[in-house]
Symmetry: C2
Subunit: 546 residues, 2 copies
């Protein structure tokens, strides 16, 4: 058959070239070379064995009555479109027993049983189902069973099979009341070389690794990130990023219902916005430009342009040379800015409802995904109040002092003290989420509106989840001259922010807002230990790839 000829050709290509590359990124060239040699040898041996088996089969002139029903498919180049329906596992269950279906899936694991059977755990996103290849005298040849047994984990297969009801529920799969009796089996994309780690190991509950009889390897965060594309396939990661998309959707849904407009502000700026610290410099044709550290100035300018309530979901860049569990050099900001009528607490009211909407939405719409993450990384259920606690800074300082923390009235909070405060608040108010209002003026940026009653404080706030900051915001100064005065007091050259300051000269409403770190919300909601887990491809001072 022409198809078979093509299959052989492609198989050969695949076999030849896998030797060029190990598939596992190793840091040292020497190690890499050694590994390559080893793989090459293994592969050559395997190939020789395969060829011998093939030759033996041919020599004995055994007719393979299944030969058209299995094999490697050539690369799909969109040759034709037969229009077969391809099923998703979520739609398969016992009620469809007896139906013949086509399925594209990954082989998560295969378990050969003698030379007459092969069990597969097949995967689509985070759903798994059991598939079986079983020898019979007329349709499934021993050669076909052998082919099935040799398919490498993580290869993609195209299967024709019949839905069957297993004798007892398949506990190891998400689809438990149905399995697939395979009648045709094609590899459409083969996983080459050695896999960087075992997907099942990478999905195990943390506690499993602490058992004394643990036989498997713990996959470090570093290894995961080095092999991120592979790592994303674990069901936990599938769930984490569905939850992330959910937070974005809930954020938008709520703000749109309150009359907010989605905007997009520039990320390349002519001047370093907030004084020039921690900003990335870009070569911009014949001049220099800078990456936006926040959309704040532009959000404010848009509010002055009469779009009174706006939000933006976009990239934020911070050139901070730090390697903490909660810092990245690039992240997604969920920003909002609004004009208010009387008092900046109108902004806190919107944020309050917004966060409660997001927390509730996660509980209600993402329960299954949270459960999946929970199994691998157990976390205490996130507690919040229907009306969010608003704590004034001075009262937080008092609470800390009562509990042995020594600090001045106007000192900033260190990460450590923030965590302590989170604990104390949790004990006293039974909440993992609260707003800290009225920060000391001295620890906030120049554009922050001072408190009208006590010039040592300001109309600004941070929000905390499990004792870690997830939002920073304030009433902004909307008077150009007062803004210049404050900029000078902070050694910010007013000329460097002229277009920003000018925005307030032609009539500006009182306004304010804040920026939420998307990854932080998810990170702290599920208490995942490191922010890198919730970024598809995290960036820190040492990580620019993949």
């Amino acid at each position: 058959m022409a198809e078979n000829a093509e299959i052989n050709q492609v198989t050969k290509q695949v076999q030849d070239v896998v030797l060029d590359e190990s598939g596992q990124p190793l840091s040292k060239n020497a190690l890499k070379k050694l590994e390559k040699e080893k793989l090459k040898k293994e592969r050559a041996e395997k190939d020789a064995a395969a060829r011998a088996a093939q030759a033996a089969a041919k020599a004995s002139a055994v007719v393979d009555y299944s030969k058209d029903f299995y094999g490697k498919k050539p690369m799909n180049r969109s040759e034709d479109r037969p229009g077969l329906k391809h099923e998703r596992f979520n739609d398969i269950n016992a009620s469809r027993t007896g139906e013949k279906v086509w399925i594209r899936a990954r082989v998560q694991t295969s378990r050969p049983t003698g030379n007459k059977m092969c069990f597969f755990q097949l995967r689509q996103n985070s759903s798994t189902i059991q598939g079986l290849v079983v020898f019979d005298e007329t349709k499934i040849s021993k050669q076909m069973v052998k082919f099935a047994q040799a398919i490498s984990s993580e290869s993609i297969v195209l299967i024709e099979g019949t839905i069957a009801k297993p004798l007892e529920p398949v506990k190891s799969c998400t689809v438990q009341d149905a399995e697939i009796m395979i009648s045709q089996l094609f590899v459409t994309s083969e996983a080459q070389g050695r896999l960087p780690f075992n997907i099942e190991d990478a999905s195990r509950p943390e506690a499993d690794f602490e058992r004394e009889d643990a036989q498997f390897s713990k996959v470090s965060l570093h290894t995961r990130l080095e092999n991120r594309v592979f790592d994303l396939r674990t069901i936990t990661n599938q769930s984490i990023f569905r939850i992330q998309a959910g937070v974005c959707r809930l954020f938008r849904e709520f703000l749109e219902s309150k009359g907010f407009l989605e905007i997009h502000t520039p990320k390349i700026l002519g001047a370093a916005s907030e004084g020039g610290a921690n900003v990335f410099k870009v070569k911009y044709f014949d001049t220099d430009a800078f990456l936006a550290q926040s959309p704040q100035f532009y959000k404010q300018m848009v509010v002055c342009g009469d779009f009174e309530r706006v939000f933006e979901i976009g990239s934020v860049f911070r050139a901070e040379n730090s390697f903490t569990h909660r810092h990245m050099t690039e992240f997604i900001g969920l920003d909002m800015e609004m004009a208010f009528e009387e008092h900046y607490h109108e902004i806190l009211d919107v944020f309050d409802e917004l966060f409660v909407y997001i927390f509730k939405g996660l509980e209600e719409e993402y329960a299954a995904d949270l459960e999946v993450v929970q199994r691998q990384y157990p976390f205490e259920k996130f507690q919040y109040l229907p009306k969010t606690l608003r704590l004034e800074y001075k009262d937080a300082v008092a609470l800390l002092r009562e509990n042995g923390v020594e600090m001045g009235d106007y000192d900033d909070l260190s990460t450590e003290v923030e965590r302590k405060l989170g604990q104390l608040v949790k004990e006293k108010y039974k909440t993992d989420f609260f707003m800290l209002d009225k920060f000391p003026l001295a620890v906030r940026p120049f554009y922050t509106m001072p408190d009208p009653k006590n010039p040592k404080y300001s109309n600004s706030y941070d929000f905390f989840m499990r004792g870690e900051e997830v939002l920073s915001g304030a009433q902004r100064i909307h008077d150009a001259d007062f803004l210049i005065e404050r900029a000078k007091a902070h050694d910010v050259d007013p000329d460097s922010i002229k277009s920003y300051v000018d925005a307030f000269r032609m009539g500006a409403p009182p306004h304010g807002g804040g920026g939420i770190g998307l990854e932080r919300v998810i990170f702290f909601y599920m208490n995942l230990g490191n922010i890198r887990r919730v970024s598809l491809f995290p960036r820190d001072p040492k990580r620019l790839s993949p």
Copy 2:
């Protein structure tokens, strides 16, 4: 009253400091200085007159019985929160005649009538209403009328007034069946200095400027962009950016309904993705990094990570040194990528439905905003087919040749020829939107899947609106070795794209997608002449500010 004392104090502040800054950005320092001097003089004269008037009033010991009901408010620093309801114009109509309301609005124009009356056109976003201050013997003093008459355009006022039914509809306002009889009038933020242009001029239909008796100035795009915050206040711009947000919403809404997941990929990359041309370089701590020219590689990697259908709305950066009507160095990409089962035309099917959903959604949900834009920038209604035309490249070349365009079978299309093709398609198929499929392989990037039947062509496509490209996409090569082969043929060093290539080594489904330029869709849908009109703060090689 304490409040009045404060008002006076702030008024004085405002008067003192407006002299420091002209409010109108001028390019030359000398000019600026002159302008400043002039304004200073004008202001000083005005102040003197005001003081004289005040003094005269005091001298004649006329009691101002309105004095508590008007004046300049101090900057709002969130002193208190009385909890007054502030009305939006959209909620005001004749049925509420007699109701007393509080309103925050801009003074768009004021028209004094003698010394006893002042008409205002008040604005909130793109709604306007008429407000009146009318002298009476007990409540509205002549001083108050005088104060009203002196309020500068674009200042923000806080008004208490009574809803009234005008004798005849107020044709010049969007709220025509109601007006506001003002009883209290405070300026909360004053527009200082000379306005960069007249908001009404900036909102006029283009045709008005061609009338022989035209008395007003046309506002150039350059002037608009130099004063963008001010320019955004025109009702046309309010509508344009509501439409833009609408396109984003419709894009997401449709793709989410089809099982696509929203993702966020990094914008700072360790290597220049597509060969290094037109890429911005970033100083990244001790090394160099690059800004993403497209999320394509990462979208593909995420598909290989088993998120089979993904989309992203994010910033895209292109270091192209060009100044056309349709290029910017930074824009918003609406990107999607998906695994398919049999044929890349499955992707075209999704895009087809998606675009029709967006076009229909704009017609149905944004009719009022389109009408507003239409009034200033008249455009022919955008035509599209319920099932989008798919033209093969070779047929497009034939059509062009039939109509006198000379070109080879495998030549790329110039912008000019694209437009010509758009016209020919419109004549023949009655549509402003079509898909051009099967581009010559030679004019596409290395990762494009060649056509399986004719190696001179490829499985790639562009979409056109009114003869201009709005999307580019393709089936991508999902086999690592073939990808390396094609990269080498294009002089792309495979080592420079290692993490991308490696993503295909562990089993990859056939897949493809495309990137839509958000601004282009809106630009061409409304035929706005220049893409800068549909970007809040456009960036080109010479424009980095505001």
